[in-house]
Structure formats: C-alpha cells, structure tokens
C-alpha cells in the first residue's frame, strides 16, 4: 500500500556556505508527517528547525537525501513542480509579509488568485469568511499600515489558509499574537486538520501550543532527538 503521508523526509542532510566556510545544518533527518496532524518542531535557536521547514516547503533546494511533499520528490525538482507544490502549501511567516498597498481583503484574495481564481462574489465571500474566522470581519478594507501587529499576522494566517492547502508550514505564527489570539489560530489549524485533512508543521517556542500538538519533534544541532 502506497504511503499517504503528505511529508516524508529520509536521510536529509543540508549545508550552508562553501569551501572552508561550509557548515552542515541538518544531519540525516528522517521524519514523516501524518495527514491531518499538527506537528510542532521545537528546539533552541540555530538548531535547524526553520531550515527543515523551508526544505519541506520547497522554499530551499534539497541537497542530499529525500524530501517527498504530497507524493513528489523535491530532490532535483524543477521550477514548475516547485511552483505547483507551493500553491498546494500554505505558508505562515513569523513576519506577516503583507503587501502594504493591498487591503486585508485583497491580501487574502491573493491566496485564491494564485490558483487562477478571479475576484468574484464567491471568492470575496470565501476571503471574508476567512477574515471572520480570524476575527477581522470589520477590518476587510484596512491597509496593513492601519492594522496592529497581531491583526496583520491574522490576515497572513487567513491568506495562507483561504486556498484550502493540503499542508500548512508555519514559522512562529503566534509570536506577534496575544495569548487568546495565538491559541485561536492554532485551534483553527487543528480544526482544519480534522475537517479537511490539512497537515500542519509549526515551528514554535510557545509552550502553550505544545498541548495542542499531535506530535512534538525536537531538533538539536541539526539532529532529531
């Protein structure tokens, strides 16, 4: 029977730099992420959590070993495949990276437009619904400059989730949020996992989230512990 794990990492090694400055960041990583699960990556700063996250999200080229994302091998993947897989993946950054000239609604619509969906009453309704879920129903026409840090992060979460991604990769998504908002976001990700089978991998230092995780993976100095 074929393995249906949306993310499967085998014998992954990764280096930064070249020549004498070349430094290994990941050592023989083996990891599977089960469909619909919430996996939390923890570890000290510089341990390789984010590097592993970016490799799983095909945001960085795989150098050695194997990373299979939604059944596709990322080692040697071409640009077309990379772009296709990125469209099926929701990414939430620690910095919100909202487009400053787009309103909250327009930023969220960008998450639908990438799938070729034009603005229609249906897509607007979907974007509005997502903003409502993150508690920003009354801020749809606000530019990022007029939103607080937490509100911007929630717009970024809405943008990542509006396209119903199969995998969500999140790097410290609750760092800018207060306790309640942070927990609400993580609960929403967990609910998505249960309702749609969305798998989430999250890097966090937030101990409140660990209770909600299906699996906690610890990395130290580039190795899974």
């Amino acid at each position: 029977m074929a393995n249906t794990d949306p993310i499967m990492v085998r014998g992954l090694n990764h280096w930064f730099g070249q020549g004498e400055a070349r430094k290994q960041a990941l050592f023989d990583i083996n990891l599977s992420v089960v469909k619909g699960s919430l996996t939390v990556l923890v570890g000290p700063s510089g341990s390789g959590k984010t590097t592993l996250l970016t490799l799983m999200g095909c945001l960085r080229d795989v150098q050695d070993g194997s990373v299979r994302l939604m059944g596709h091998e990322l080692l040697g993947a071409n640009r077309a495949l990379t772009e296709t897989l990125r469209r099926r993946t929701g990414v939430i950054f620690q910095a919100h990276n909202l487009h400053d000239s787009l309103t909250a609604m327009q930023n969220v619509l960008m998450g639908l437009q990438v799938h070729g969906l034009r603005r229609t009453p249906e897509t607007e309704a979907a974007a509005r619904h997502m903003l409502q879920l993150v508690g920003l129903a009354d801020r749809t026409d606000y530019l990022p400059a007029n939103l607080s840090g937490g509100q911007k992060q929630r717009v970024a979460v809405a943008r990542a989730l509006v396209g119903s991604p199969e995998v969500v990769l999140a790097d410290e998504p609750t760092a800018a949020l207060d306790r309640e908002a942070g927990l609400a976001v993580v609960r929403m990700l967990k609910q998505l996992g249960q309702a749609r089978g969305t798998s989430t991998v999250m890097v966090t230092h937030d101990p409140r989230i660990l209770d909600l995780a299906d699996r906690i993976v610890e990395i130290d100095e580039g190795r899974l512990t």
Binding site: T54, L59, F93
Partner: protein
C-alpha cells in the same frame, strides 16, 4: 481605474496599487516621464521641421533631374555648374527642357531686423520649372528688378506681407539697386535664412554682378512624359564628360539633402542626440522608479513566490507599472510639448508642429522605453528569495 485594470489583467492590479500607494513617488515618476516626453517631442519636432525646411525650397520647382557640383550636398551648398552640361544633357532624346538655377542670400535691412532671404534666380521663360503658386506670377518676373517674396518670412509682419500686390509693391535697396517686390508666395523660414525670394536670372545677375549666367548653382532638367528620371540620370552620367558632377533625379537629390542635413550637419546631429538623450532620460527615470519599487517590495514578492506565484506574475506586475507610467506620463508630456512647440513656432516661424504621426511615434517610443526599463528592473526580482523570509 483599479476595477478596470483588474478586469483587464484578470487579477488584482498590484502594479497600479503599488504606484498609487506611494503617491509622491508616483507623481515624481510621472513628472519625469512627462519631462522625457517633452524633450523627445521638442527634439523630434525640431528634426521634423528641419526636414520640412530642407525640402521646402525644392517644392518651389518642378524638375525631374538635378545636376550639381561634386561638393553640393544640399541646395544651398557647393560650387557652380557649367551651363554647357545642360546643353549636353539636352542632347539626350528624353530630356525635354533645362534651366539653370542660381542662388544667393539677399539682406533686407529693416527697422527691427535685417531679413536674410535665400534668393533664387530663374529663367522666366521656363515657367514649367516653377511650382503653380509661383508660375502663375512669372509675368511679374519679366519686369526688371522685380521680385516675388516669401510672405511667411520670419520677421515680416503678416499684414505687411498681405498688402504686397503688383499695384502696391514694396521695395528695398540691394547692392545699390532698388528691388521691387511685386507679389508674394508661400515659403517659410528655415534654419539657413528668414525666408525666400525669387527673381529672374537677369535681375539676379544685376544684383550679383560677379555671377555669370554660364555658371548656375544647379541645373534642372525635365524629362519626357513616361521617362524614368533615374534611368535618364544614369544615362546622363555616362554622356556628360565631367564625371565629378552629381547627376541625380530630383527626388534623389531631395532625399540625399535630407539625409545630409540629418546626419552630417551639426543641427541634425544635435537634434538626433537630443532625441537620444530624451529616450535615455526616460529609461533612467522609469528604471529608477521601477527598481526602487521592486526593492521596496522584495519581501512581499518573496512571499508571493513562496505562495507559488510564477515568474511571469512578477514580470506582469513590473510591466504593468511600466505601462501605467508610459500612459499617464505621456498625457502631460504631450500637452506641455504641444504648448512649447506652439510658443517656439510663433517665435521662429519654423514648421514646429506635433502631427498625429509624431505623437503616435513618441507614444510608441515611450511604451518601448518604459518596457525596456521594466525589463532591466525585473533583474532585481531574482533577489526575492522566499527562503530569506525565515
């Protein structure tokens, strides 16, 4: 506007929204594009007016072939041509008529300004060589010391020119002789003089005693109906023994004069460089705006890359901005350019106008300029690496 662009592109008009988000920079960019447009408009119009001014005197005559001295790159340059070559040319069975054309500048001292008039001496018996507006007044040239004056001469009041009639002629002194201006024709000031004047060959020789009817500046020939002027000219080049002469069809002589004025004369080169500088200024301004905009949005672009947007999306955004700058910068550029050309035309009487063809050419050049700038600016997009966001 935003909705219109969204409908056109089938996506959110990111480029437009980005430009509108920083309105001061957008305004400065439009002013820059408009400035470049004005530069190009003025220079192109000057080049165009130079072409029109160069060709204008050719229009006073109707000829098929022109024989000129070796160094006669234009109508007003070069040595004389012996009239004997006209007679030799007329031995060709397809050459039906010939006329010597003499040229010199005449100064008309006036209270406000001395007019420099490029004066042609023609044979009044050969009226077939004159354009209709001049030929129908050729009888006046039969009178001694009689002249036809360019009523569009620079520095000549229009009402004064309009009052000149055979019954109310004007006159002025040239070389101790009184020249009577008995009528006018439409010419226009050029880069070499304020206007034109036409006199008979006899009057011309009276004004310039050092000149000889045996050595005109150019020889004009007419060929038989249906004959090919280029073929006849080629034949004449073999018949006429002075191989140093330039024997060309009249059309070829005009075309070569134009090329000479545009590429060899300082004025043409300067105007040509003016156009180039305008285009370069446009490229630099638009590139600066677009590259700064790309640099300002690198993290957003990297985010879009991480979301799976393909490279063509980012190129589309940059080119969208380039086209918006081209369109919106062209409008004030055209308005200001037209106003400046109108002022310059009034001051110089040069044919400085913005024709629809010129406006279209400048607009297309603006589009190309902006797209080139955009293409250069897109190189910065490669710096948007989604891995750097973490």
């Amino acid at each position: 506007m935003s909705r219109l662009l969204e409908w056109l592109f089938g996506r959110l008009p990111i480029g437009w929204l980005q430009l509108m988000h920083r309105r001061t920079r957008f305004g400065a960019a439009l002013a820059g594009v408009a400035f470049a447009n004005v530069l190009v408009f003025v220079q192109v119009s000057l080049m165009n007016s130079m072409s029109l001014a160069t060709l204008k005197p050719y229009d006073f005559f109707q000829a098929d072939i022109m024989i000129s001295a070796q160094d006669a790159n234009s109508l007003s340059e070069g040595g004389n041509v012996a009239r004997q070559w006209m007679f030799q040319a007329m031995q060709d069975p397809e050459v039906t008529a010939g006329m010597g054309l003499m040229m010199a500048n005449v100064s008309w001292p006036r209270v406000q300004k001395t007019l420099t008039l490029t004066t042609f001496g023609v044979d009044p018996e050969q009226s077939g060589f004159l354009s209709p507006g001049i030929a129908d007044k050729v009888a006046l040239l039969q009178l001694r010391d009689s002249a036809l004056l360019d009523r569009l001469s620079r520095g000549l009041p229009r009402d004064e020119a309009a009052a000149i009639r055979p019954q109310s002629s004007a006159s002025f002194e040239v070389s101790g002789k009184t020249l009577s201006i008995n009528d006018t024709f439409a010419g226009g000031g050029g880069f070499g003089g304020d206007g034109y004047m036409i006199v008979s060959d006899q009057t011309f020789l009276d004004l310039f005693p050092a000149r000889s009817s045996a050595a005109p500046d150019h020889i004009l020939l007419k060929v038989a109906p249906g004959a090919d002027p280029d073929a006849v000219a080629a034949r004449l080049r073999k018949i006429i023994t002075d191989k140093a002469l330039r024997i060309r069809s009249y059309a070829a002589a005009k075309a070569e004069d134009l090329v000479y004025q545009q590429t060899k004369r300082p004025t043409g080169i300067i105007f040509g460089f003016g156009v180039l500088i305008g285009v370069l200024v446009g490229i630099v301004i638009v590139y600066q705006v677009l590259s700064a905009d790309v640099a300002d949005h690198l993290s957003e672009y990297a985010t879009f890359k991480a979301m799976g947007y393909p490279r063509r999306f980012f190129l589309g955004v940059v080119f969208e901005e380039a086209l918006i700058l081209a369109f919106l910068g062209f409008i004030p550029g055209a308005i200001i350019g037209t106003a400046i050309l109108t002022l310059m035309r009034k001051a110089t009487t040069l044919p400085l106008t913005m024709t629809p063809g010129m406006a279209t050419t400048v607009f297309v050049a603006t589009l190309v300029t902006c797209v080139v700038s955009g293409a250069i600016a897109t190189r910065r997009l490669s710096a948007a690496d989604p891995a750097d966001l973490f």
